[in-house]
């Protein structure tokens, strides 16, 4: 059985990179990932990107980036599944190596929001919802998340500051991540006094759109020397699932079927149960997403995901540490790069290189890359091999 491992990781700071373009940003992460892998030579490049055709007028990113990174000649494609593009690209890289036909695959997630500003960004993001039935009505992703959150709070009697735990945890963890956009812990007051964006969603329930790139080098374990430079991280489980694009088509919009389904498949493949997962990187583009993911995966019962956060159980020393390097909220939401950032951060945890945020003895990490309100979820179980 072919074992697929992460042999190299790289990432840029998440933030506003006005001065450089998509290809430069991608290359910065690729350079570091290849160096970290000891100079492995990729045969295939999988680019996770969400919105470049709209935000930067640039499609065909595979060859654009392969050329700029000095990798001309190799296979290069873009993989898109909205906010799950990074996780989907990681999975394609995994499948390519698993097939036995590709020895070394490079996965890079890249997004550049600052090429456009204002309403242009909201319109671009809305192309990832159902254009004919949702976007056309003027529904933005934030508006949709607000509706979802309002329903949740009504159903489960959640207090006004019930979701604060997600932002508090994210910012506390982001403070120690040199690549995070926001590196400052916040107080409860900061959350409760935050400006309302779309009632009940406030500024601190929303991850900031930002530029960034992250990369991983994947290979088969058996092609690496036994004395490889650093601990290896195995992709022990990988799965993706789809739900309706439009939220109103769901039987129960307060349950993220795809988060449950794909996590279950990935854990089954990895041969583990939920109790063995040492940390969870969710897709907290909106705090309500994080709550619903915690419930669907099984860390909390239905209606109690917010409580897990409120009780401090998702902090680094809690029952199930989440967003260990700041998550989308504090690291920043770099679109299609997000799923690859999760892989880079999880790999660092499993290598024991997470610094002040290290989860002691972490062996298994679950990461979930999400497109829309769980319309796409791609789940990976990563396993430390040291």
């Amino acid at each position: 059985m072919t074992e697929v491992v992460i042999a190299g990781i790289g990432q840029t700071e998440v933030g506003e990179h006005w001065d450089i373009g998509l290809r430069d940003l991608a290359y910065a992460a690729i350079h570091d990932a290849i160096e970290d892998s000891g100079g492995l030579k990729p045969q295939s490049l999988f680019v996770g990107n969400m919105l470049a055709p709209n935000l930067s007028n640039q499609a065909h990113l595979g060859v654009l980036i392969a050329d700029f990174a000095g990798l001309l000649g190799i296979e290069a494609v873009t993989v898109e599944a909205a906010g799950a593009s990074g996780g989907a690209a990681l999975r394609q890289g995994y499948l390519a190596v698993k097939s036995g036909l590709v020895d070394v695959a490079l996965v890079v997630g890249v997004e550049k929001f600052t090429d456009k500003v204002g309403a242009g960004v909201d319109a671009a993001l809305a192309t990832t919802s159902d254009s004919d039935f949702e976007a056309v009505q003027g529904l933005t992703l934030a508006g949709q998340a607000a509706l979802l959150m309002k329903r949740y709070m009504h159903e489960y009697q959640v207090p006004a500051d019930g979701f604060a735990g997600f932002a508090l945890t994210a910012h506390a963890n982001g403070a120690n991540n040199p690549c995070a956009m926001f590196r400052k812990a916040i107080k409860l007051e900061t959350y409760t006094k935050a400006e309302m964006v779309s009632d009940p969603l406030n500024m601190f329930d929303i991850a900031p759109n930002a530029d960034g790139a992250a990369a991983v080098v994947l290979t088969r374990r058996d092609v690496l020397p036994k004395d490889f430079a650093h601990p290896l991280v195995k992709i022990a489980g990988s799965a993706a699932a789809s739900d309706t694009l439009a939220l109103h088509d769901r039987k129960d919009m307060l349950y993220f079927d795809t988060a449950q389904l794909s996590a279950g498949k990935a854990m089954k493949q990895a041969g583990i149960i939920l109790d063995q997962v040492n940390f969870f990187e969710y897709h907290d583009m909106f705090s309500i997403y994080a709550a619903l993911q915690l419930e669907a995966v099984g860390f909390a019962i239905k209606g109690k995901g917010w409580k897990l956060a409120a009780d401090g159980e998702i902090r680094l020393k809690g029952r199930i540490p989440c967003a260990t390097m700041g998550g989308l909220k504090a690291r920043g939401f770099a679109g299609g790069a997000t799923g690859v950032y999760q892989a880079v951060e999880a790999a660092a945890q499993l290598r024991g290189q997470a610094g002040a945020n290290q989860i002691a003895g972490a062996k298994y990490g679950l990461i979930q890359s999400m497109g829309g309100p769980a319309s796409t979820v791609v789940s990976h179980v990563l396993q430390g091999l040291n």
Copy 2:
């Protein structure tokens, strides 16, 4: 060794489908492909699409189509590599089945040009070239192809009607393809009198942008019963390669490195040499592309690709039949669906179901899906197993 086969094929007519949307179009092809496969149940959906985020304000096509096709729950992603999106999606489906983790993969290529008209379409197409260095100067894909053709005609002393053979062959073959946009043979006079678009490129050197969808169902040979309903077609070789996105960055812009490289790899994997290839489906978005592909793959020496067409050697009874169902020129250029149309048409040839255009005794077909002027080329060798 896992053998990956095409178990089902489906396609819509190529043309102007004003009355239906992306998801309906994709579903029509998917329905036929799944029915043709005897009702196989796919676990993964790979969507080849080039421009929907721009032309239809719709990203996240994977789940949109999976839902509409009644396949909710399965893995679903979009694969993009400009004009090669269809071939790239086919390759991802192939890798997924080859990995052993996916038993049945569905690949659908879909494009809807008629959601936009005029300059909007040219601008969308230009996002597939180098936005920062080409598109920003106002260079369209047709303008770029015209420059390439002019240089070629100058270098190799090609007469004004030198490229007519490509259009004549395409239209002759398209006449017998019920899914082709243009089903009428043309005379040499039609070509020589055609309106000039971008000198020396005339109307008949350019494939028409059009709507369409094509689908294939891939599976492992060993999961099918021995008495399967129709002959199987094996994906015997698969490879992709990248060149610079910007044409001006090439050492020799009159040689399509990636067409040579990826065809060579695919044939090597299939264990065949060029002489064994019974027909070739090139990416004749512009006639100059077809000429350069014939040369790079090795069917003609440098500077003589046009002559092969002029001498009738690419016709159905010629030395190497090309565009056997009309190619991009007569079938129509349905963007990211194109590579999947090629697979469907080649599979029909190898099953002996190509009707009046059947290549007698065809055993191996080479198909090349191309993004930009060979910035991306994805090559597949298909083998008939009857």
